[in-house]
Each structure stands twice: as C-alpha cells, then as structure tokens.
C-alpha cells in the first residue's frame, strides 16, 4: 500500500562517468589457490604498471567457495577496486555475482572460464573454452595412442558445469574415432587432494592397467598423479596432462607425459587488465558479453621449448583484437 520500489542507483565510476588511469584499481580474483592462476599475479601487475593504473591486485582467498568469493569481491569493491577479472568458483551462479557488481557500476570480466549457459553478464569473457581444451587433450591422447585403444578420463568435481563440459569434450573426441577408441572410464572428484588422486590412479592401474592405452586428465592433481603413477608402474600408457606446472613440463620433457594442454593465463591477465581499464576509461564493448577464446596449446616433447612463444603471439593477437574489434572507444 503506497509502497514502491526505488530505482537502483550506482556506486562508483562507470555509468557514463569516466576514470583516468590513475584512478583505476583492478582486482584479479581466481576461485582459489591453484597453480594455474599463479601467472596472473605478475602479468596483471606488469600490465597495470605499463598502463599507469593505480593498482592491480591478485586475491586467491576465495577458497573454492562461491559465497566466500562473493565476500572477497564485495570487500575489494569496498576497498575502492573498480574493475574485476574473475574466475567464478561456480560457473552456474557467477552471472548473479557479475550482475551485482555491474549494477553498482563496476566493470567485470570473466577470466579463464565463462559462465554456464549461453548468457554472460560480464563485459566479456576471456577464457579457454574448457570443452575445446578437453577435446584437444583427448585428441592428443588418441593420437599418442596411435588412434585406437582404451582411454580413461580423470577429472575434478563432478557437480560443476566446467567438469561437465570437459567430460563432453572428451566424449566428443572419442566418438569422432568411430569406435576405434573406447572411453572405458571417467573418474571424477579426485582433484580435492593429491593423495586421493594418487590413490585413484593406483587403483585404476591395478584394476585395468593392462587394458588402458591412454589417460587424459583435465584437472591438476589427477594430472600430477597420473604422470607419476604411470611412470612408476612402468606401463606403456600415454598420459595427457593439463597446464604447464613445472612438474608437468618436466614430465613432458623426460617423456613420462605424452602431451599437455596448456592454456593462456598470462594472456588472460594481461589482456583482461587492459580491456577492463579501457572500459573504465570510457570505452564500451561492441558486443557486451562476448566470449573470446584465449587459446589452448598442445605441448609435446617436440614443442616444449617453444610453445611459450606461440602463446605470447596469441596474447599479442588478442590484444590487437580487443583494440580493433571488441572495444569501441
């Protein structure tokens, strides 16, 4: 009765008002501590310095809990950060978080993973397409297996849409072989703890080590565990890992890992920071919510020394693409 809803206002920056570089504070917020995100810290800081931004911070305290991540984000906002590059802990919820922030006038980018579904409420999404990355990893594994045999997929938290996409990617690659490769098992939920991953790998190898020709892993701890377990057991299984943590790269170098699919965290942080700052300076996205692939690279012993150049090239390419195609200033 006589009660009406007030129109939402905005808090800081944005909304037509523009900021100068020295007023821009960017926060890069991964879902939790993970080796994958470590390059963000330096790449973001470097880009910030280059652009003369007031501050670029890296905050990994979200602890893989969406509620905590939301907390961290609002705390950062309260501290005066006005642009956020976020890896959402739970892709199915993250659009709400984005909306909250953009409604208050902050600029938000979805980095390293896009929200689940077709919608993206962030200004843009700059990420590896996890399904494509998993698909490529599976392809690499199939290739290493010689195009036929039995494949096993090891991955993380099952009730996470990224995992679902990874499973779909692997399944797609397998189905493309027309039955020559069989996906005999998908093991999930072994990324919590390195020991669980090692145990799962040991059990798997004990149960069907002889029947397995390839293992594709799409999560960190299983990748480390699989590389080690296979080497230890001395089985002729081809392991395809994920990312380029030193332990995995050394595996590729010495041959215990057939290949690894690396992504482009440096590019995500660098280009993400750049684009966010431009948005605060008054640019707009030509196509809000656009999803941009940050690239994924199959690394084998052949290109282990050079894949990083390939990756830098991709980053530069992304940078120009944002300047020319995605942003309108």
């Amino acid at each position: 009765a006589g009660c009406s809803k007030r129109e939402a206002g905005s808090a800081t920056g944005g909304d037509g008002s523009t900021l100068s570089a020295s007023e821009i504070k960017v926060a890069l917020v991964p879902g939790g501590p993970h080796p994958y995100f470590q390059p963000w810290k330096d790449a973001g800081a470097e880009e910030g310095k280059e652009l003369g931004l007031s501050e670029v911070t890296f905050n990994e305290t979200a602890g893989w809990d969406q509620t905590k991540q939301n907390d961290v984000l609002s705390s950062l906002a309260a501290q005066g950060y006005n642009a956020f590059g976020i890896f959402g802990v739970s892709p199915e919820n993250i659009n709400s978080t984005f909306t909250d922030l953009t409604d208050q006038g902050f600029q938000v980018a979805s980095l390293a993973s896009c929200p689940a579904g077709d919608e993206n409420k962030a200004a843009f999404c700059l990420a590896t397409d996890v399904e494509v990355a998993a698909y490529r990893a599976a392809q690499a594994a199939i290739e290493a297996m010689g195009g036929e045999g039995s494949l096993v997929h090891l991955t993380g938290n099952r009730v996470d849409s990224n995992t679902q996409r990874r499973i779909a990617g692997v399944e797609k690659a397998v189905s493309e072989t027309g039955g020559k490769v069989e996906l005999i098992q998908t093991v999930t939920d072994i990324d919590v703890d390195l020991q669980s991953a090692q145990r799962a790998v040991a059990d798997l190898l004990a149960a069907k080590g002889g029947d397995i020709d390839g293992i594709v892993t799409t999560a960190y701890n299983p990748a480390v565990a699989a590389a080690e377990g296979v080497k230890e057991a001395g089985l002729p299984i081809k392991v395809v890992a994920i990312d380029d943590d030193p332990s995995i790269i050394s595996g590729v170098e010495e041959g215990s890992v057939a290949a690894t699919v690396t992504q482009n965290p440096v590019g995500q942080a660098k280009v993400g920071t750049y684009a966010l700052s431009k948005l605060l300076e008054g640019c707009t996205m030509k196509e809000p919510g656009v999803a941009v692939d940050s690239g994924s690279f199959v690394v084998t012993s052949d290109n282990v020394a050079t894949y990083d150049d390939e990756r830098s090239a991709k980053t530069d390419e992304l940078m120009t693409a944002f300047q020319d195609d995605y942003l309108s200033c």
Binding site: A1, G2, C3, S4, K5, R6, A8, A11, G32, P33, T57, N59, E60, T61, G63, D65, Q66, T67, K68, N70, D71, V72, S74, S75, L76, A77, A78, Q79, G80, S90, E92, N93, N95, S96, T97, T99, D100, D103, Q104, A116, G117, N157, R158, V159, D160, S161, Q164
Partner: protein
Amino acid sequence: MPWWANPRVGLVVVIAVLVLGFSSARPAFLDVELTLVPLQRDIAVFAVVGLAQLAALSLGHMNLAVGRMAALAAFSAGLCYDRFGAPLVVGLVVALVVGALVGALAGGIITATGVNSFVVTLALDFGLLGVVALLYDRFAGGVAFSVRPPGLDALRSDTFSDYCAGSVCGPPVPLLVPFALVALLAVGLFFGRTRQGREILMTGSSPRAARASGIPVGRRIVTAHALSGLLAGLAGFMLATANGAFSASIGESFLLPSFLAPVLGGTLLAGGAVSAFGTVLGATLTSVIQKGLNLLQFEADALQIFIGVVLVVALSLDRIRQVLAERRGVRP
C-alpha cells in the same frame, strides 16, 4: 545472575570489539552497500545452517548431511520453477517439505536401527551426493537450473531500503534476513516453550531417563531430525537465492560452519542444551571475522592463519568473563 554472566553477552562484546577494531583499521567495514548488506546476507544463511545443525545437536546427535539435504531441497525448488513454472513461494514450501522428509528419513533410520547418527547421516550424505548429481543430470541436463521465477532476483539483491512508502524507505536490510529471523524465532520458541521441543532436549540430556519419564523418544528423534532437514532446506533455498542459481553445488561448504555457529553460541555437542540466539551470534562472529580479514587483504595463507588466531583470541577473551563469573559464584 548478573547480566554479564550470560554467555551470550560475552559473544556480543567480542563481536562489538571486533567490529570496532575492523572498522577503525578499514573504514570500508562500515560501507552499507558493499560490506554490511552482504555481511547480513551471509549471517542470515549461516545462522539458518547453524540452526539446522542445532536441531540435531539438541539430541546430542549430528547431521553430517546438512549440506546435501540443502542441495536436494534446492533441487526440488529449482525443479518446481523449471518444470512447472511455480511461483516463488511454492518452491520455498517444496524445499522445506523435501528437507523435512529427508531429515525425517535420517531420524527414522536412526531410531529403527539404533545406529549412531554420525554414521547414518554420513552414509546418507554419500547417498544424497549421488542422488543429487543424478537428479540434476536427469532433470537439469547438467548441474544447475537456469530458470528463475519472478521475484527471485529481488529477493536476492534487494534490501528494504529499496522499498519506500512515500519518502520513508526501509532499513538497509536484505530481504533474506527476515527468513533467518523467522527461523530463529521459531526454533527458539520450539525448544524454549513447546512440549515437543522440551522433550527433545530432555531426550538429548538422557535418553534413558526420557524413556522412563514417558517421552516418546523415537518420535522425538524423528521430529528433531526432520526439523534439522527442514532448516537445511531453508538454508539451501536461501543460499540458492543469494547465489542466484539452483545448482548441485549448494551446501557443499555447509558442514563445518554448521557446527561452528551453534557450538560457539553455547549449544552443547553432548545434547540437552541449545541456544538459538547464540547460534546467530556464532554465525555473526565468524562472518565478521571473515569479512574483516578480507578487508585487510591478507594473502591466502595469512588469511587462514589469522582466522584461526582471531577466533581463539576472541574466545579466550570471553573466557575471562566466564572465569570472573565463576569466581563470583554465578552458575552459568
């Protein structure tokens, strides 16, 4: 009993000191939109989670499946919205009913078999994990529902200050907070005033004496667990609302906070004594610590270290009050 001997007062003081400390170190702590509103939302959710555990603790039992009960309840609400286009409140009611039914199932198994509640709810937790995954797979084609009923977004992000009668607007309190308040009052009244609630507490403090005093122990166990499930369902609904989607990951991080809030608030693990209000204070204390330390922007490792240290130090301060009370010969 002097007012300061009440254990709840100690918590209030500790919280006040922390708020003072944090807000003087980081004035942003008092930012309404960015700190206080989200903080209230967190407290509301975790207070309800704590109350859900409190219902089981009242018996001296545990409910290790709180999180998964919440997930199942949130699934049912999501299903109603997605498949049947149900209005917001219908989903809420369904979530509560499903939660209560699963809780009653846990209680029923415990009474029927006499197996320790820890084991039963642990097993149930595993079982529900599988069920929830299968259900989302079957009905949501993945791990979340995307449909949102009208009103959900308002419930999620609005505060009463967004609603005005003329020029008078409400306080900056999120719309979710009243849910927790209702739960608090209901639980407080239930354990403090109703026959059923009191009988549950008596059962908690001595099942044998309860049986010999004519209390239908089995039925009370089922009731308490059903209440636990119902509140878990409410928490699941609230978290899904707060986070914006009905997804399988709801409740994953409920387990430890669910114990922390009531135990901090003075509820005994052994059963027989509960404090609903204390649970809210416990949830407030943990949320305030988390929020304050977030604002201080520690690195991930330092943050965890400080959370632990602040918790112990804060509670030790409260101990001094307790020791004083004991020295004065006040019974707690």
